[in-house]
């Protein structure tokens, strides 16, 4: 008997008798003999809790995490401090273990949290409608494409090269399915090439996808770029960062029809990439085309205020093949973490955090630009992340700097062949001025060493 099951030999006997069979094997006889495995699984035997702990701790030991390295890596996920109350609350069984709230009478906790979360994301993006979260950022963007096709009955997507590479790739993957064409528009000095964009957006265009700050950290002029979409009747989809929304003009005020993004920076740990969540907000027009769960306010038979899953007629369990999206299990717990983090920051703390990042980022950018062998990749305004060029092989430089306990940034060459020498550096409130100064010093030393061919 495993420690998670309760059936004792006596229980089993009584239960088998009640069923009217002699053994559980009889119950498995409905599986045709040739399809029964007939041998033990080739997996190790079970272990005690202490042994499992030791085993996984040993694996974890072999990762260089942000507790061990000073982390300047961003590229969509950031080493923000997650307040202790987030863990304290999300770890409560009452939030951790229930299923999706199909029985609202006993799920008011989760449903109200969704409602509060929707309100918060709506406030952040300046759009009236928010869902209760999707898987993560890139697939949320792909879902926006699916929505746009349904809304416009068109099949062409125009995507800025400033959009996160993972988002562009995911959109492409999905597009094969719903048979849409994806056209990419390049960057000029760090921002989307407005002229080129206006070029390709046409009457066939279902949606234009922008990201601000874009992957190179630049704050885009979404309003100006979006004009092309408006003219052609295409939806404007803006991917954004939920932290810098504290200081940047909300997409809703820039003409966006849909604003979405990766939610990790809000109350979610890095977790090597997941689970986090994707947020998704839209205009009132799109409310019945939204993907994912949406909580709504209502009343019970006695007139008590309550919350339910509303607009379920969009969803797979009701509409099946006509559903606006196939998503079922999403990321409710991660959205709760975000809501707690936002409440903890509060209206003013949230803004102060944004200001802190902009200022420290500006400081770091100046500091690095002054380093010999390091120069800015672009001059566009940035908020929390910026790109530089290194006058030495980026990977080699990163290895040297890693030797000093610093993860210096994200090598742009991974996704942008044109930026083989590019490094993307991210700043969070955890990155102190002293750490930034050390990064500058370490990068300078590493580039110099590489140029002089000093053996690492």
């Amino acid at each position: 008997m495993t420690r998670y099951t309760s059936a004792t030999p006596d229980d089993r006997r009584e239960m088998l008798d009640a069923i009217g069979v002699g053994s559980t094997a009889e119950l498995f006889e409905q599986i045709p003999e040739p399809l029964r495995l007939g041998r033990p699984l080739a997996l190790p035997d079970g272990m005690s809790e202490a042994e499992v702990y030791e085993r996984l701790a040993a694996l974890a030991e072999r990762n260089a995490d942000a507790e061990e390295q000073v982390c300047f890596v961003g590229a969509g996920m950031y080493d923000h401090y997650v307040p202790a109350i987030v863990d304290a609350i999300t770890s409560r069984s009452e939030f951790l273990t229930p299923y999706t709230p199909y029985q609202p009478e006993i799920s008011q906790g989760g449903l109200q949290v969704m409602f509060e979360f929707q309100t918060a994301m709506s406030e952040l993006t300046g759009l009236p409608v928010s869902n209760a979260a999707l898987y993560e950022g890139p697939s949320a963007l792909a879902s926006a494409g699916y929505l746009a096709m349904g809304a416009t009955k068109r099949r062409k997507f125009v995507v800025s090269r400033g959009v996160h590479p993972h988002s562009r790739e995911t959109l492409a993957t999905y597009s094969v399915g719903y048979d849409a064409e994806v056209v990419e528009v390049g960057l000029e000095d760090g921002v989307t090439d407005a002229a080129a964009l206006a070029e390709v957006v046409d009457a066939e265009t279902a949606a234009v996808f922008l990201q601000s700050p874009n992957f190179l950290g630049s704050v885009e002029d979404v309003e100006a770029l979006g004009a092309a979409a408006k003219e052609q009747g295409a939806l404007l989809v803006v991917a954004c960062d939920p932290i810098t929304l504290s200081i940047l003009k909300p997409p809703g005020e820039c003409g966006a029809d849909i604003a979405l993004g990766e939610g990790q920076p809000l109350g979610n740990r890095l977790d090597f990439g997941g689970p986090s969540f994707g947020f998704f907000c839209a205009t009132q027009e799109q409310i019945r085309r939204m993907p994912g769960r949406i909580a709504g306010e209502t009343e019970d038979v006695d007139g008590r205020r309550g919350f339910v899953l509303s607009l379920q007629t969009r969803e797979q369990h009701i509409r099946r093949e006509k559903a606006t999206n196939n998503i079922c299990t999403a990321q409710a717990l991660n959205a709760l973490g975000a809501m707690i983090h936002l409440a903890w920051l509060g209206r003013h703390g949230y803004r102060e955090l944004g200001e802190l990042l902009v200022r420290r980022t500006a400081y770091a950018r100046e500091r690095l630009a002054a380093v010999d062998g390091v120069e800015l990749l672009h001059e566009a305004p940035v908020a929390r992340e910026f790109a530089v060029r290194l006058d030495a092989p980026v990977d080699k430089v990163l290895d040297r700097v890693a030797g000093r306990g610093i993860a210096a940034g994200y090598p742009l060459g991974r996704d942008y062949p044109e930026f083989e020498d590019g490094l993307l550096v991210a700043i969070t409130e955890r990155r102190t001025r002293a750490q930034i100064d050390e990064l500058a010093e370490a990068l300078g030393a590493a580039v110099a060493a590489e140029r002089e061919g000093v053996v690492a």
């Binding site: 239960m15 033990p40 590229a75 996920m77 609202p104 006993i106 990439g273």
Partner: protein, 507 residues
């Protein structure tokens, strides 16, 4: 003093925004440490936000109270029996939370150089190997974020597989008992759903299957199946079904939501399936979190492998004396590409791998055995007495890990809809089964006890159903107006959809 309502009912729902008061706050931020330049000097003012969003202003103690009190308005798996069919509400070991929280996992950046994330990549590789053995298929991708995401992946893989052979196919077959995500995924993947009927044993109606295949020659891309299916029965014809589909050139997709019935007993790969998704948040104990997170890894056969999503975790034999190393492989020319950001829901992988290590092969096999035992026992208990008469089993045979009853006689004889029974169960402290699914069954009640429930819980549930049916004989309104003791009573869902209020209005 007579009670008019429960303490929780008396507590008026208030959102955190309604508890906000200007000037309050919980967060203290570090000092800037750098020149405090005006924002306008750093970012053009036309790109800046005028007013901060109206987030709540509230101090930490009241935030904690707010969410603690809210949490008690949820029923959860750690409070009682949760036999929600098709959802596998099994125990969530806290050990898994502990290991997932280790900084080496929780604070590892997803873009970390693979050479400095060897532990994480090895863990993912070990999980892939384990799922491969359990599913009986050689290759695994952990990328999909949940079951429905896995379904979409499977259909895109099918499309890529056929395209690679120069074929274009447009139809996907699915039984009328299939879960809603199946047809929804089909549409998203650009296919058309063709329904296949169910036979009197609850399995696929073979003649209808043959008919549909004949009706759409060379146009059937895939058959999506759950086995055991959503009726909780194992389709004995699976081998024949597989050969029919394969002969027709289609792929066979296994919706793994019901894998908890067969771990260590039977493997989808051996049944002939080409693609399988596994819900780690079902069979592998990832907590449901009130609606996620989960993960939906897929296991596939050799012929599908070339098309798996990018990147793939691979093990490379160590060069010059080094031990083997693990890496992310992006060089997959035929890959369908990415389905999401980074490498998947790693935190979920840690939990599920810890679960697999804890139980081991034998433990997993026994878990499925006990799940099937519990389901058949509860089915037997509910075949007795009033339940036996009012709630007959939809397909009368041994079930696997779950079973489906029909509330049709109950509705006819007592005027009680399945919904009423479900709502009344709330007053007895039980989470109701899944209701009105599968659609095939009138007034369906889909019951999955899972292996981690004690016999006492099953007996208690059966007794409650019996009592509800008994009391309904002389007072059906009792159930029709239920629940009475929950934090709120029946809610007006129609209004919520007719005039949706999906966010708080703030002034």
């Amino acid at each position: 003093m007579a009670l008019t309502q429960t303490p929780m009912q008396a507590e008026k729902a208030q959102t955190i925004y309604e508890k906000s008061k200007p000037g309050r706050r919980a967060a203290a931020l570090p000092a800037a440490e750098v020149p405090e330049k005006p924002l306008e000097d750093l970012i053009p003012s036309n790109l800046l936000r005028a007013e901060p969003p109206r987030l709540p202003e509230i101090a930490e103690p009241e935030i904690v109270r707010h969410y603690n009190r809210l949490s008690r308005r949820n029923f959860d798996l750690d409070s009682g029996f949760y036999p929600l069919g098709s959802c596998t509400m099994k125990h969530n070991p806290r050990l898994n939370e502990r290991v997932a929280a280790l900084p080496g996992h929780a604070r590892l950046h997803p873009a970390q150089d693979p050479r400095r994330a060897q532990g994480a990549l090895e863990l993912m590789w070990l999980l892939q190997e384990s799922l491969s053995e359990i599913c009986g298929l050689p290759h695994v991708s952990l990328q999909p974020s949940a079951g429905s995401h896995g379904e979409l992946a499977g259909l895109l893989l099918t499309r890529a597989y056929h395209a690679d052979r120069g074929e274009v196919r447009n139809k996907v077959l699915a039984p009328d008992t299939s879960h809603g995500t199946n047809p929804a995924s089909v549409t998203m993947a650009g296919y058309e759903v063709v329904k296949v009927a169910t036979n009197e044993r609850g399995g696929v109606e073979m003649d209808d299957l043959r008919a549909k295949l004949a009706e759409y020659p060379d146009d059937v891309a895939c058959l999506m199946l759950t086995n055991p299916n959503t009726l909780g029965v194992f389709d004995e014809n699976i081998a024949e079904i597989a050969s029919l589909i394969h002969e027709a050139g289609g792929t066979l997709y296994y919706d793994g939501a019901n894998l908890n019935a067969v771990m260590g007993h039977s493997r989808p790969g051996d049944m002939g399936f080409d693609i399988v998704h596994v819900n780690l948040h079902k069979s592998f104990s990832q907590p449901h979190g009130g609606g996620g997170p989960g993960a939906g890894p897929i296991a596939v056969s050799d012929r599908i492998e070339p098309f798996l999503p990018r990147p793939q975790v691979v093990r490379r034999e160590g060069a010059n004396g080094h031990g083997p190393g693990f890496d992310l492989d992006f060089e997959r020319p035929k890959s369908i590409g990415r389905l999401r950001g980074f490498q998947g829901n790693f935190g979920v992988f840690v939990r599920s791998y810890a679960y697999i290590l804890s139980l081991g092969g034998d433990g997993l096999t026994e878990a499925s055995e006990t799940a099937v035992l519990n389901a058949n026992y509860l089915k037997a208990r509910l075949a007795r007495g009033r339940a036996g008469d009012r709630l007959p089993i939809a397909f009368d045979r041994h079930c696997m890990h779950e079973f489906v009853l029909s509330g049709k006689p109950m509705k006819r004889d007592l005027g009680l809809a399945t919904l009423d029974l479900a709502k009344r169960l709330l007053d007895f402290g039980f989470h109701p089964p899944t209701v009105y699914f599968p659609l095939l069954v009138d007034e369906a009640l889909m019951i999955e006890p899972t292996e981690t429930e004690a016999k006492e819980s099953l007996d208690g549930f059966a007794a409650a159903v019996e009592q509800i049916l008994a009391e309904a004989e002389d007072n059906p309104d009792l159930a029709k107006n239920a629940p009475y003791t929950t934090p709120v009573r029946r809610l007006d869902e129609v209004r919520a959809t007719r005039q949706p209020v999906v966010r708080q209005q703030l002034d």
